[in-house]
Symmetry: C2
């Protein structure tokens, strides 16, 4: 699988959507190198032993040669891992230079030791890199409630720092995976005021994923050599997250550890991007597109998923209403079970639209599966069972809901709910 | 299985809960006869053919010899079946005398024909019973989006009316089942001002069940011979639903057809119960207890469920907070998968409490599984894996969360999420 190539193809296809999802038509030039594609960024990843049962990588490092403007978006869960709490503290100054992350253990609900361990990760990484602790962000992902084997991590940090390179992004992307089957890595080059500027990102997430009110819900680390003013960086991140990670759902559960971190070192030499400028729009659209690629990769990699489902909602009174309907359908266990079984039970889609909280008039709503109209005028459109079965049997399914009461739209992305998802999640710890 | 006897035993046990769920300790005298236990009520049920693939009963009738005060609670889904819309219209006058219900087809999203069919059900039943159409309530449950075979129903109504008897409640309870494995039928006798008064109820529901902001989410038909003033009847119904059906969840999906209907014919001869009186409290507590019995039966009968789970939350700042936490845990797919797999992953319980929207301080929260404390002071309590596995392997699991920040409590009831649930719901229509 070549995720980047596949997603390029898909981006082109999804532009054919009946409704726009707010992301502009893709003109992005994708490049290799992931988080190390932007000038001045290095990355590495290795196996330190937190993943005790395998030799898979479980520790990652991202480093900028110069101090960056840094912003983050974090889970809104009241139960937050120590890394989330510490990063919020570190980012109050708006600066950062490195990110260290482990997989295999979320270091959450681990008491005071958990906080000491997260601090030790940041401090030790800072010492190895010659960076002060508050300029290092920390992330952990994996099982909740188990003490972190901090000794393994601390001992491995010198080798991790030693291993930093411009070719290290893939290792870093591997080092943050948990139940993911594929890495999530992407980078693009755009032109800002005549200067070539790059944005790179790695992400992880295949379960315990659910968007929640403008906040992130998985790990994503983003680097850019663009010079971006702090407020513009904040605004670009929030907008991009809102259009991408907040519009996917896998299982409706919101994690304790989720975060998106964005470091901008300005080494591309462009005139600093300020909020509201033409350059800001170019930058934030590119960021949103990259995030949407990663978000879709997460859904495609969803635990136990056999199908990828795009839900486009149009004709809504407001954007918020369109998002509610799209997310309600994307989150419905019954819709997701029907998708798994290729059962053309479109009534469940209508029901999920109805309980979304948005303004819905069942007499004006139309539902399409692929290009086939299945509901209008408050009732089903007569179809042969065979033709409906054929549509629902596809691996990529596009559900379109035209609410018929306004002009706003939104898209959400989800997967089916399979017996395999239940099996995986009924024995995650064991 | 004798649900009533089992639930009596369980009621006694659940009184041992660490936190009260608001329902007073049971002193209810349960009686047989279901909806026909109260004086003046008759019921019947038969197979008319809407369930085409079996000979199971699919049409039910409940009738009072005299006109009743009548109230209902309905789904808040914006996509509502025609029966819901019509009942709201009929109940504007506050009176009713009969309920006709079919299973096998929800008659929802069936266009104008759907409304005509629901009207035909009410009208034909009214003619057979000598009751005006607006005093007949209608209900349908089953698959959405398929035209109702109204001819089968209309043709069967004379026999259905003919079959009405004081022994007909069980047939009526059978006639409203869809994927349910057991009937849900209960009745009790209480004393109001020296008069013996009865309340009877039948219900159905084993999937597409999720509580939603003070509104009902399945079918439940309730009869009483108590004389209850209209406002008192309304208040008693709302309070009882809030403590019972609104605190259970099976799959998080809210139906288009759900309703609770309550008919009171006053034939017990008690002095009319008015809101706020001592008699009102006795009556509404009894109603709440009966509803909780039915609600628990629904959870025990949940599609594919292998476990019954009670979640008691205490130490909350407000009752609303306690309900949020209890329902968030009860609704978490990841918690429910862990329960299915008997995987002692209590971190997921803490995470679900954290994203509930309630005030939660992770350092003050305690979590118990059965009597075993597993979380305190922000971290796990050291336990042998064998002892944790033993607790999670039980069929009846009691999770207690002490938020440690206040004095309010609430209980919710749920089941596990099994591979069998997914299998059933991936091929419901076929």
């Amino acid at each position: 699988m070549n995720p980047v190539r596949d997603m390029k193809k898909e981006n082109k296809e999804s532009n054919k959507s009946r409704f726009s999802n707010g992301v502009k038509k893709s003109t992005l030039k994708l490049v290799s190198g992931g988080v190390a594609a932007p000038t001045g960024f290095l990355a590495s990843g290795l196996h330190c032993g937190v993943k005790a049962k395998s030799k898979k990588k479980d520790l990652s490092l991202i480093y900028s040669e110069t101090l960056c403007n840094a912003v983050g978006v974090f889970t809104t869960n009241k139960v937050q891992a120590s890394c989330v709490v510490i990063n919020k503290e570190h980012l109050k100054g708006g600066k950062g230079q490195a990110i260290i992350a482990n997989s295999g253990n979320a270091n959450c609900m681990t008491g005071k030791k958990g906080f000491a361990d997260s601090h030790a990760m940041a401090k030790t990484a800072g010492e190895a890199l010659g960076v002060s602790e508050e300029h290092v962000c920390v992330a952990s992902t994996g099982v909740i409630g188990q003490p972190l084997q901090i000794g393994l991590i601390v001992n491995a940090i010198p080798a991790l720092a030693e291993g930093l390179s411009t070719a290290g992004s893939t290792d870093a992307a591997l080092g943050i995976l948990t139940t993911d089957r594929t890495i999530k890595e992407v980078a693009a080059e755009i032109v800002i005021g005549g200067k070539k500027v790059r944005i790179g990102a790695i992400a992880k997430g295949a379960g315990m994923i659910h968007p929640q009110m403008g906040h992130a819900t998985m790990l994503c680390f983003v680097t850019t050599d663009a010079a971006v003013a702090p407020k513009a960086l904040r605004a670009a991140l929030d907008e991009a997250v809102g259009q991408s990670f907040n519009m996917i759902t896998i299982d409706g559960d919101m994690s304790t550890n989720d975060m998106v971190l964005l470091l901008g070192n300005g080494m591309a030499g462009n005139k600093t991007i300020t909020k509201g400028s033409k350059e800001f729009i170019v930058f934030s659209n590119a960021l949103a597109e990259l995030f949407l690629i990663l978000a879709k990769l997460m859904v495609r990699d969803a635990e136990g998923a056999t199908k990828f489902v795009e839900i486009s909602v149009g004709g809504a009174k407001t954007s918020a209403d369109a998002q509610k309907v799209a997310r309600s359908i994307a989150s419905s266990n019954l819709v997701k079970c029907a998708l798994f079984g290729s059962d053309p039970n479109w009534g469940r889609i209508a029901a999920a639209a109805g309980y979304s909280g948005a303004y819905v008039d069942p007499w004006k709503m139309k539902i399409y599966i692929g290009k086939e109209l299945v509901l209008k005028n408050g009732g089903g459109v007569s179809k042969s069972p065979a033709s409906l079965d054929r549509i629902f049997a596809k691996k990529d399914i596009h559900i379109t809901v035209d609410l018929g009461v306004g002009k706003s739209g939104a898209s959400a992305y989800t997967c089916d709910l399979s017996t395999s998802y239940v099996e995986k999640n009924s024995a995650y710890r064991t």
